[in-house]
C-alpha cells in the first residue's frame, strides 16, 4: 500500500513538477502590474501566480491524502 502511494505521489509530483522544468527554460511570461493613480491604487484582478499554485497544490495534496487515509481506514479490520 505504501509502495502504491509512493508511486502515485511520484506521478503526481511529475505532473505538478513538469511546469517548473518548462519555467526553467524561460518560456514563462509574467506580467503582473499595478496601475497607480495619485492618491489611489488600482489592483488588477488577476491573482498572483504563487498564490494560485500554492492554494491549488495544497488543496489537491490534502484531498488526495485524505482520500487515501480514508480508504486505508475503511479497509482495515474493525476492532
Amino acid at each position: 500500500m505504501i509502495k502504491s502511494l509512493a508511486i502515485a505521489a511520484l506521478a503526481g509530483a511529475c505532473v505538478l513538477g513538469a511546469p517548473a522544468i518548462a519555467q526553467a527554460h524561460g518560456n514563462q511570461n509574467n506580467h503582473w502590474g499595478d496601475g497607480d493613480d495619485e492618491g489611489s491604487k488600482h489592483h488588477h484582478g488577476r491573482a498572483p501566480e504563487p498564490a494560485t499554485i500554492v492554494g491549488l497544490s495544497l488543496g489537491v495534496a490534502g484531498i488526495v491524502g485524505a482520500r487515501w487515509a480514508w480508504r486505508r481506514r475503511k479497509a482495515s479490520p474493525k476492532r
Partner: protein, 310 residues
C-alpha cells in the same frame, strides 16, 4: 499480495493506462505552463485535474485492460496527439485550450475501453473538464463578480478592527487614499479555485446531496470572506501609504498566505461537512449495519444495473 510476485514490467503493463495518463498529464501541464497568458490559473488547474485522474486510475488497477477495437485505439491515440500538438504549437493561451485536457481524456478512455466504456470513466472525465470552469471566463467573471458586496464586507472587516473605512460602490475610501476594487478582486477567482477542489472532493469521496450542497456553498462563503479580509488588509496598507506592504499583500508572500488560508479553512469546513452531514443508519441489535450509499459518481450505469441478474 499477488503484486509482490510480479515483476515491474508486468505491473507497468497492468497499469498501462495510469502510466500513459501520467505522461500525457505531465506533458499537458508543462505545455500549459509555457503559454503566455492573462491568467495564471490555467496550468495549475490542468495539473490538479490530472493528479485527480491519476489517483482514480491508480485505485482501479484491474479495470484498465485494453478492451477496445483497433479503430477506437487509433482514434483515441489521434485525439491525444492532437491535444498535445495544439498546446505545443500555441504560443499563447486561447479559450479553446480549456477543452484540450478533456479531449486527451476522451482519447485515452476511447483507446482503453471503446465507445461503451465512457460511462465508467465519467469521474476522470469530469475532472478533466475542470479547466473549462477554471479560470472563470472573463465575461462570466465580470457578470457574476460581487465587487460592491466585497468592498462593503472589506469595509466592515476594516471597521471591526478599528480602521475608519467607507465603501462607495467599488471604491474603498481610507484616510490616506482610495482603493479601487476590480472584478477580479471580488473573490470570484478564489471561489472558482475552491470549486475546482470541491469537485475533486465530490469525485473522490462518496457524498450525498446535502453534503454536495454544503461543499459548494461553503466554497462560496470561505472564498468570498477570506478575499474580503485581504481587500481590507490592502485598504489598511493604502491608509498607511506603505508601498512595500501593499505589494506584499497584493502579489507577494502575503497573497500566498491568504490563498493558503482559504484552502486550509475550506478544507476544515469540508471535513466537518463530510463527517457530520453523513447519512445516519440505525443499527438495531442483531442486525448488520446498512452500508453507506455510494457517491453519485460511483454508481454504475443503468444499463449495467439492468444486465445484472437479481
Amino acid at each position: 499480495m499477488i503484486d509482490s510476485f510480479r515483476g515491474p514490467a508486468s505491473q507497468i503493463r497492468e497499469r498501462w493506462l495510469f502510466w500513459v495518463a501520467a505522461v500525457v498529464g505531465a506533458a499537458q501541464t508543462a505545455l500549459g505552463a509555457r503559454l503566455e497568458a492573462a491568467t495564471s490559473d490555467y496550468w495549475p488547474t490542468v495539473g490538479a485535474a490530472w493528479v485527480g485522474v491519476l489517483f482514480v486510475l491508480w485505485e482501479r488497477r484491474a479495470a484498465t485492460a485494453l478492451r477496445s477495437a483497433l479503430a477506437w485505439r487509433l482514434l483515441g491515440a489521434a485525439a491525444v496527439v492532437v491535444s498535445l500538438g495544439v498546446l505545443a504549437r500555441s504560443p499563447a493561451y486561447r479559450a479553446p485550450d480549456r477543452v484540450l485536457p478533456l479531449l486527451a481524456g476522451l482519447g485515452l478512455f476511447l483507446a482503453a475501453s471503446g465507445l461503451g466504456g465512457w460511462w465508467r470513466e465519467r469521474t476522470p472525465l469530469l475532472l478533466l473538464g475542470l479547466p473549462v470552469m477554471n479560470p472563470l471566463p472573463e465575461a462570466i467573471r465580470n457578470a457574476v463578480a460581487p465587487t460592491q458586496v466585497a468592498t462593503w464586507f472589506a469595509m466592515m472587516i476594516g471597521r471591526a478592527f478599528g480602521y475608519p473605512m467607507t465603501a462607495d460602490g467599488t471604491i474603498l475610501r481610507v484616510p490616506g487614499g482610495t482603493l479601487d476594487v476590480l472584478n477580479g478582486c471580488s473573490g470570484v477567482v478564489s471561489v472558482s479555485r475552491l470549486f475546482v477542489l470541491a469537485v475533486l472532493v465530490v469525485a473522490l469521496f462518496p457524498t450525498n446531496a446535502r453534503q454536495r450542497v454544503a461543499l459548494f456553498a461553503s466554497a462560496v462563503l470561505v472564498g468570498f470572506l477570506v478575499n474580503a479580509a485581504r481587500v481590507a488588509v490592502l485598504g489598511v496598507a493604502v491608509a498607511g501609504e506603505e508601498e512595500a506592504r501593499f505589494a506584499f499583500w497584493h502579489d507577494g508572500l502575503g497573497a500566498t498566505a491568504f490563498s493558503t488560508a482559504t484552502t486550509v479553512l475550506a478544507g476544515i469546513v469540508w471535513w466537518l461537512a463530510l463527517m457530520f452531514l453523513a447519512p445516519r443508519f440505525e443499527e438495531p441489535q442483531g442486525h448488520v449495519a446498512v452500508p453507506a450509499r455510494p457517491g453519485w459518481f460511483d454508481r454504475e450505469s443503468p444499463a449495467a444495473s439492468r444486465a445484472r441478474p437479481h
